[in-house]
């Protein structure tokens, strides 16, 4: 769970709240058990319902595809939270504004990976630019079978999973 801790530390995430989580799913009957560990975060959806449901334009999508919240414009109506099928948002109790994963935008400007990616000891999290065909994520997308979470919601997530099997 190093990613959960690193994210909290890096992004000054308020107490008792998290931008990313790891879902642990165990299926079957002892001793025949299967387990999946699934890190979850904002999917930076292409067709983001949090953005098109936001009445003030506080939730917006940057040109590079990162979905962000402009705190100045946020009224705290929580429409974006109700609209997100992945429950990736929460209200920051310190200022009342919607809060979510920013994909480590302050780090990627400097060419670094997001903190959750850097800290992941097994390299399970991979970050990159889909527009660059040479980036590791583009290569994986081309070579491996990948899936997204809740594709039926029609949000077109940009977070992809390899080997997503259980419960989806």
């Amino acid at each position: 769970m190093a990613c959960v801790v690193a994210c909290k530390r890096e992004n000054d995430v308020p107490e008792e709240h998290y931008r990313t989580r790891v879902v642990e799913i165990v299926e079957g009957k002892f001793p025949k058990l299967r387990m999946e560990l699934r890190p979850e975060l904002c999917n930076h959806c292409e067709n983001a319902p949090c953005v098109y449901n936001c009445p003030t334009g506080a939730s917006y999508k940057r040109k590079d595809g990162i979905v962000m919240v402009d705190k100045k414009k946020c009224v705290g109506c929580k429409a974006c939270m109700a609209a997100c099928p992945y429950d990736a948002r929460f209200i920051d109790p310190r200022n009342g504004a919607a809060h979510k994963c920013t994909l480590g935008e302050h780090r990627i400007i400097d060419g670094k990976d997001p903190a959750c990616v850097t800290t992941c000891i097994s390299g399970a999290r991979i970050f990159g630019d889909f527009n660059d065909p040479q980036s590791p994520v583009s290569r994986i997308l081309a070579e491996r079978h990948v899936r997204t979470l809740i594709p039926e919601a029609g949000t077109k997530p940009t977070i992809y999973y390899i080997g997503l099997e259980l419960l989806t």
């Binding site: 003030t56 946020c74 429409a79 109700a82 099928p85």
Partner: protein, 328 residues
């Protein structure tokens, strides 16, 4: 056997979304009721022609529905304002219009409806009220300017009432992420329920027997329609995807919401209808062999039923999700 644990849970991630509470339910309830008042008040005003200026013997609904509309809607707005976590930023609602956001439509819609219904209310004031309000000079002034347009204002408010009633349902039904709400039937259900609660309020405040019977008859038809819409709502969910099927389960399985929902059905729908069903058989409006108490009790139950319906939908809707980790 399936076991799920989540490390790094948000308050909202587990066990379920919990962001909107009774304030939103009350906003939707008052919005729906005002929609009903606007539509029924306009109909009542347009059919009680010719309208003599300052007439004091007009049906109560002709002036009380317009007067109550902006007042109740403003109270509703107050409740949604209470729910905002950054209240000082509220002006941003009006610096932006997002065509895809029902919340944006609502902010602008309600912002327009309150003044328009207030103008209609002024144009509908009876003489006795005008005399009392004389010290605010702008009221008689506006009254004289607006009276020639009263019928036009009534028509406009009727249209805005339909918008408002449907909007209270669209606000919830537009969320794909919440299967219980995500139904095209919900706005129709809320519009109908709004009309029903609007009629119930008019039954209570009407003085005239004829008027009480008229709105009671209207309410019987509306309650009957509501039963059909509710059945269709559940049928549509039952025959849809598994998240939709699971989303209605709290209403029908043992637990907190089951007795809650049965109460809505029995106390808010069947009992009020049973109490006044014989009014439907009254021919014309002059024969009123009914006790006032029965009609009033029925109307009160409809009002309570409408409120409990909104509360139930707001809370149970947040239990529903497309995500596998939220399902229990």
């Amino acid at each position: 056997m399936k076991e799920i644990s989540i490390i790094g849970i948000n308050e909202i991630t587990y066990p379920h979304l919990d962001i909107w509470n009774w304030t939103i339910a009350l906003y939707l309830y008052l919005g729906g009721m005002v929609a009903g008042l606007m539509i029924l008040g306009a109909i009542s005003q347009l059919r009680s022609s010719p309208i003599t200026e300052k007439a004091t013997d007009r049906p109560v609904s002709c002036y009380m529905a317009p007067i109550l509309s902006p007042i109740l809607l403003s109270i509703g707005m107050l409740f949604i304002f209470l729910d905002l976590t950054r209240k000082l930023n509220s002006f941003w609602f009006y610096l932006n219009f997002n065509i895809m956001s029902p919340m944006s439509w609502g902010a602008w819609g309600v912002g327009i409806i309150i003044p328009v219904s207030a103008l209609w209310a002024i144009s509908s004031l009876p003489g006795s009220y005008l005399d009392k309000l004389k010290r605010w000079k702008f009221i008689p002034y506006l009254y004289n300017k607006l009276v020639p347009y009263r019928d036009k204002l009534a028509r406009l408010n009727c249209g805005l009432g339909i918008f408002l009633g449907i909007y209270t349902g669209v606000l919830l039904s537009s969320f794909v992420a919440r299967p219980l709400w995500n139904s095209a039937i919900l706005p129709i259900l809320f519009l109908n329920s709004g009309l029903s609660t609007g009629a119930a309020l008019l039954i209570i405040i009407a003085k005239d027997r004829m008027e009480k019977v008229f709105f009671t008859k209207a309410d019987i038809a509306l309650i009957a329609t509501e039963i059909v819409i509710i059945i269709l709502f559940y049928y549509a969910h039952l025959t849809s995807t598994s998240p939709h099927v699971e989303s209605i389960a709290p209403f029908f399985t043992k637990g907190y919401y089951f007795p809650f929902w049965i109460t809505v059905f029995l106390l808010g729908i069947f009992l009020p209808m049973a109490l006044v069903l014989d009014v439907a058989r009254v021919k014309g409006f002059s024969v009123l062999g009914l006790e006032k108490l029965r009609i009033h009790l029925s109307a009160c139950l409809v009002l309570i039923g409408g409120l409990v319906t909104r509360l139930a939908f707001v809370y149970v809707g947040q239990l529903s999700s497309l995500s596998d980790i939220v399902k229990r």
